[in-house]
């Protein structure tokens, strides 16, 4: 079986390093003081390092060689002090940089999360949960590794390097040039490796994300996997992804090891070159023996920061690959329609025309004016659909499954924007109403109830302080209060992820109570009682009677008994409005509604 599933994360677009770093830099800016402090510590650490051999030399030359033990203890104390100072300074430096790293990661994480909140329903339709999880966790963790590797101290390494280069040139230009002759090769390696390494890291990140997507889905559907005896197949598929992931890591390891080895080898080759060249010079008498030995020692010092840099280099390539993914998501402009520039949405082009509202009526009037809508390209799900709802009116949408009823409710909440036509609320095009204002006015009972892990009270109020006050009343309205009070902890009863410890009907009641608790003036009930028994349904209807008064209500239902008291009934078929009228009118018309009704109550 082939899996063309959506957990095939693409390798995201490449960005130029300079741009990447340019975008990353501003995240460091708020912490420039801390970074500066860490950098200021650098010379002190270096000094502490250099002082130690000097103290030892003093001890040997002035005391031990001469047999004078007198001043030794104070020198020893000094030595100890210097070492402690060095390690404390290092501690401070490491800690500061880790702190900055954590802060930066925190900032990026929160920014990315906030950005995701602004992305459109369309984006979520096609993006696997697991891939977003992996961006917000693993990808950002890789950035953390970059800080832990001391990327900020690269500046220090470079400075040390520059200093040593200066000294070497000062000591002997010719020998220096001989030494530096290996550098072009090193730089070439670094550049060549960068391309390969980055490609390998990109592969790693994408495959990690695939694993995560697969796993998320698999955990969610574990019951189905087990019910259908598909454990072995899923395990095989997992093995495939797992193998791909492991294999994508191997080149990374090889490139990293190769870079390490190249630097190490070149440092020895440089020494060899000096022996060969310097030896000749000494024979010819143009170079002193002492100068050669000293120079060889400097070569050691010269390569030490290069070695550090190369270690950081590969960590950095990994971080850059992650940054690419993070920035690509941040750049994703699949924002909620309302957050796009007004020009892009075509708001205001078509004004609501047919909606008239008498000012004294309560609630809101809603108009769908000749709307056309397609989820993708031009497979239109709604075709030329119109509907007028007066304030306080209760309108029912019925029709064949897959006909577009839920889609109508989504368009009203502006989860998607219509392709053609317009929707107005109280005469204002919803594209001109701030998204939050619009959505706060609408209380939706979604067709698929979703419960969060938390308590029952949290699930009804979603943490909103206003809604929290109305939790019990809302539960009473939908007749869920008795049920909830019977739970061991009542409203504080724990709800597990997705509400698995509640029955489907209970979940639906809680999600219904949620809509009521938010006290909206437009109520949208999408199959809100589909999983509820007849007796409970009657309870709900009674509870709602008072509540719905003065609220504009859009009800979607297959059970026609639930909509008998609707002011108007609209029948949708394949995205088109087929019939509209009161129950009596539609029964008289003997059309689709009449047939549906007969079917449901035959017996």
């Amino acid at each position: 079986m082939h899996f063309g599933g959506i957990y095939e994360d693409e390798i995201v677009g490449k960005m130029y390093d300079r741009r990447l770093m340019g975008r990353f830099f501003p995240y460091l800016l708020p912490y420039r003081r801390l970074i500066a402090a860490a950098l200021v510590l650098l010379p002190f650490v270096a000094a502490a390092k250099l002082v130690q051999p000097w103290i030892l030399k003093l001890a040997i030359d002035d005391h031990i060689t001469k047999g004078v033990m007198a001043g030794l203890p104070s020198l020893a104390a000094l030595f100890l002090g210097v070492i402690l100072a060095e390690s404390l300074l290092m501690f401070a430096q490491v800690y500061l940089l880790q702190y900055v790293g954590q802060k930066v990661m925190y900032d990026i994480r929160v920014q990315l999360f906030s950005h995701i909140q602004r992305l459109s329903a369309r984006f979520f339709d096609r993006t696997p949960v697991g891939s977003l999880v992996s961006r917000l966790t693993s990808d950002i963790e890789v950035l953390g590794e970059m800080f832990a590797a001391g990327i900020v101290t690269v500046v220090g390494d470079v400075l040390v390097l520059a200093g040593i280069v200066g000294i070497m040139l000062f000591m002997n230009v010719k020998l220096s040039l001989v030494t530096f002759s290996v550098l072009p090769f090193l730089i070439w390696t670094a550049f060549a490796f960068r391309k390969w390494m980055r490609a390998a890291f990109r592969q790693v990140r994408a495959r990690q994300s695939n694993l995560s997507s697969f796993l998320t889905e698999s955990i969610g559907g574990m019951a189905v996997v087990q019910l259908f005896n598909r454990e072995r197949d899923e395990a095989r598929e997992f093995r495939r992804l797992n193998t791909e992931y492991m294999e994508s890591n191997l080149p990374v390891i090889t490139w990293d090891a190769a870079l390490y080895a190249v630097v190490e080898t070149l440092s020895s080759v440089a020494v060899a070159l000096i022996i060969w060249y310097g030896g000749g010079e000494i024979v010819r008498g143009t170079l002193s023996f002492g100068a050669l030995v000293a120079f060889i020692q400097y070569i050691e010092r010269f390569f030490s920061p290069i070695r550090d840099l190369s270690a950081k280099y590969s960590v950095m390539q990994g971080a850059m690959a992650s940054l690419e993914r993070i920035f690509t998501l941040l750049d994703n402009q699949a924002l909620e329609p309302a957050l796009l520039a007004p020009a892009a949405t075509g708001a205001g082009k078509e004004k609501g025309v047919s909606c008239q509202t008498a000012p004294d009526e309560a609630g809101s009037s809603i108009c769908f004016n000749d709307i056309w809508f397609a989820y993708s390209e031009d497979a239109f799900v709604l075709k030329d659909f119109s509907l007028q709802m007066r304030r306080g009116e209760k309108v029912a949408l019925v029709g064949e499954t897959g006909g577009g009823k839920t889609t109508v409710t989504r368009l009203l909440s502006r989860l998607y924007d219509v392709n053609r036509g317009s929707i107005t609320v109280d005469g204002a095009d919803i594209r001109e109403i701030p998204l939050k204002t619009l959505r706060k006015r609408i209380g939706v009972v979604l067709q698929d109830p979703y419960l969060f892990s938390g308590t029952v009270a949290y699930n009804i109020s979603l943490g909103d302080p206003e809604a929290l006050k109305r939790v019990e009343k809302a539960a009473a309205v939908v007749g869920a209060d008795r049920l909830i009070r019977e739970l061991p902890n009542g409203f504080e009863e724990e709800v597990r992820e997705r509400g698995v410890n509640f029955s489907a009907g209970e979940r639906q009641l809680i999600s219904f109570a949620r809509a009521v608790a938010f006290d909206p003036d437009i109520l949208v009930l999408d199959e809100a009682t589909a999983s509820v028994d007849t007796a409970s349904e009657r309870l709900i209807q009674r509870g709602l009677e008072g509540l719905m008064h003065g609220r504009t209500t859009l009800v979607v239902a297959h059970r026609l008994s639930t909509i008998r008291d609707a002011d108007r009934i609209v029948v949708i078929h394949h995205g088109e409005k087929m019939e509209e009228g009161t129950h009596a009118e539609l029964m008289d018309a003997k059309g689709v509604y009449y047939r549906l009704y007969q079917l449901q109550f035959k017996d």
Binding site: A76, I116, M587
Partner: protein
């Protein structure tokens, strides 16, 4: 770990090899310098020495690549095997387990904790080996100069080990705390993204960002606690080395003064001792890696050692072809403390049809979940074809049951793949037939890609009713002998319902069928109907019998009829 023993051994040998080459270079250098100092005695020219050094360097480089890749690849390989074991384990765990765990938590363990373990087994092992080699080499050289001084130099080490041990325990705890915080953060993300529709509908974005911030705060704090301990190791390790040097300064100094030790020896000794400073500091880093890896391994162990309550029987009875007789004998069941099913006794002959009704939360789904053994059932309470369910292999019973859960779960694959989920490799015709019976054919025909339409994660790009019908088709295609339909038509209209019901009645044939429903229409044609209330059967009988009884069932019926009557007036 065992499987990679060879790799580790090879890696260690290669590492010794690189270090030998590495040591050869300073030795050649020394010879070269001596040669330059006294050109007369020359065995080789400086150029030849240079070539030898270069050769050793290239050798070192090549072996280095192999030693590192061997060891690090071994780490990756173990990570791979562990991940596979973990997933394999998850596949065997039951509902009870998953309802107690958060998806994000499991995700985080399989990603982040596994990374820590890999770091330990890759870089960690590499560094341990390297440090060990350097220590051994240095100690050999040191003892050759002066065994007594060597003992003095390493005297502070036990103290260090003691302190580090103390630190290790808290390192373990803080690392664990950090990983837990990361799990919580992952859980927040997972839940938020899954619930995007609710978050948007209720404008909870700001609230979500706030709770996410808190999760990030928790993680940052825990990370800093780890960083603190890790940073704290630095001074400890550094001062241990310094103490050694200090002791040497005094003891060795005195020996030099008294003439027991040559000055050259003393200087050389100090030089070698300095070689140990970096590995010692490294040791602190390794310890941190070890503790982190151990903490993470412990968390992975929680998955690996989890035991499912639902176990395969040790000596499964094979009832042969399952006919589909189901019997409950005084079945009592509870998810936790309260009993959700009480004293259920019910016999369903093979090939008969049973309808189940009852108010919300009365235990209907719980009852039907017992048949494919989604939850552990007590011995001697559920029988299929006269065999205790607990003595039948899971695979056997699940193959015989076609189950349509109340809330269907679809995979983000094509409709065809979802329908054929229970029977991989099913032919086109079979799939189309199942789709037709489930009343989905019309919808599929309207999709531009037909059966190949991808349905999005959990089927988000289908309508509620379409999703439900895919899940019905999936169960039908299996051709099960027991068909369990848990409120299967709650999301479809009367027209489609009628269509499906009439197609189904042709499909039922010899199959045993259990249908749960809130509406009575799908129960038409059931041989017996039971009414559940608070987990107990309160009414039982055929449609007519129950109407005659005039109890709860009759009341539901009357209600439905009454509504119809009112409307007809």
């Amino acid at each position: 770990m065992r499987t990679c023993r060879g790799a580790y051994l090879g890696g260690a040998l290669l590492l010794v090899g690189t270090n030998l080459c590495g040591l050869a270079i300073p030795w050649l250098l020394k010879l070269a310098i001596e040669e330059l100092q006294h050109p007369a005695s020359g065995r080789f020219t400086p150029g030849q020495y240079g070539a030898m050094i270069a050769a050793a360097a290239v050798g070192q480089g090549i072996i280095r690549v192999f030693s590192r890749t061997t060891l690090l690849n071994a780490g990756r390989r173990i990570e791979y095997l562990l991940r596979e074991d973990l997933y394999g384990k998850l596949l065997t765990l039951d509902r009870t387990y998953f309802s107690n765990w958060r998806t994000g938590d499991i995700l985080s363990r399989l990603a982040n904790d596994l990374t820590n373990v890999r770091m330990l087994l890759g870089f960690g092992v590499l560094s341990v080996l390297n440090t060990f080699i350097v220590y051994t080499a240095a100690l050999i050289l040191l003892t050759r100069i002066s065994p007594f001084l060597t003992v003095c130099a390493i005297a502070p080490f036990p103290l260090m080990i003691f302190i580090v041990k103390k630190l290790s325990a808290s390192m373990f705890k803080t690392s664990k705390r950090m990983q837990e915080a990361l799990s919580r953060l992952t859980t927040r993300v997972e839940e938020n993204v899954s619930a995007a529709a609710v978050v948007k509908a209720y404008c909870r974005e700001d609230g979500e960002i706030e709770t996410f911030r808190q999760a990030c705060d928790g993680y940052s704090d825990a990370s800093m606690a780890v960083a603190k301990i890790r940073g704290f190791m630095l001074p400890i390790m550094a001062s241990t080395g310094a103490f050694g040097t200090l002791i040497i300064l005094f003891v060795g100094g005195a020996q030099v003064v008294s003439g027991e030790l040559t000055l050259g020896g003393f200087v050389a000794f100090n030089g070698y001792l300095a070689m140990l400073v970096w590995p010692t500091i490294m040791l602190g880093w390794i310890l941190n890696l070890v503790q982190r890896g151990a903490a993470s391994m412990a968390r992975l162990g929680e998955i690996l050692n989890a035991s499912a309550e639902l176990v395969e029987p040790t000596d499964p009875v094979d009832p042969g072809e399952i006919r589909g007789e189901v019997e409950f004998r005084n079945l009592t069941f509870s998810y936790g403390a309260t009993e959700m099913l009480r004293g259920i006794t019910l016999k369903i002959p093979a090939g008969s049809r049973v309808g189940i009704v009852g108010v919300v939360g009365s235990g209907k789904s719980t009852l039907v979940r017992m048949i494919p053994r989604l939850f552990p059932v007590p011995d001697g309470t559920v029988f299929v074809d006269g065999v205790d369910l607990n003595r039948m292999s899971l695979e056997k019973i699940r193959a015989a049951v076609g189950f349509v859960p109340q809330e269907g779960f679809l995979f983000s694959r094509s409709i065809a793949e979802n329908v054929a989920y229970g029977k991989p490799g099913a032919g086109r015709e079979e799939i189309e037939r199942a789709v037709r019976i489930a009343g989905l054919a019309g919808d599929v025909a309207r999709f531009p890609q037909g059966l190949e339409t991808l349905v999005g994660e959990r089927g988000v790009t289908l309508s509620g009713g379409q999703r439900q019908r895919v899940s019905i088709a999936r169960a039908l295609l299996k051709e099960p002998s027991i068909l369990v339909l848990d409120d299967p038509l709650s999301a479809v209209d009367a027209d489609t319902e009628e269509e499906i019901l009439s197609a189904l009645s042709g499909y039922y044939g010899e199959r045993t069928v259990l249908i749960v429903s809130h509406r009575l229409s799908p129960l038409r044609g059931c041989d017996q109907i039971i009414v559940l209330e608070q987990g107990a059967i309160v009414e039982q009988g055929s449609h007519e019998e129950l109407l005659e009884l005039g109890g709860r069932y009759a009341a539901i019926h009357k209600e439905e009829q009454l509504k119809a009557e009112i409307e007809r007036l």
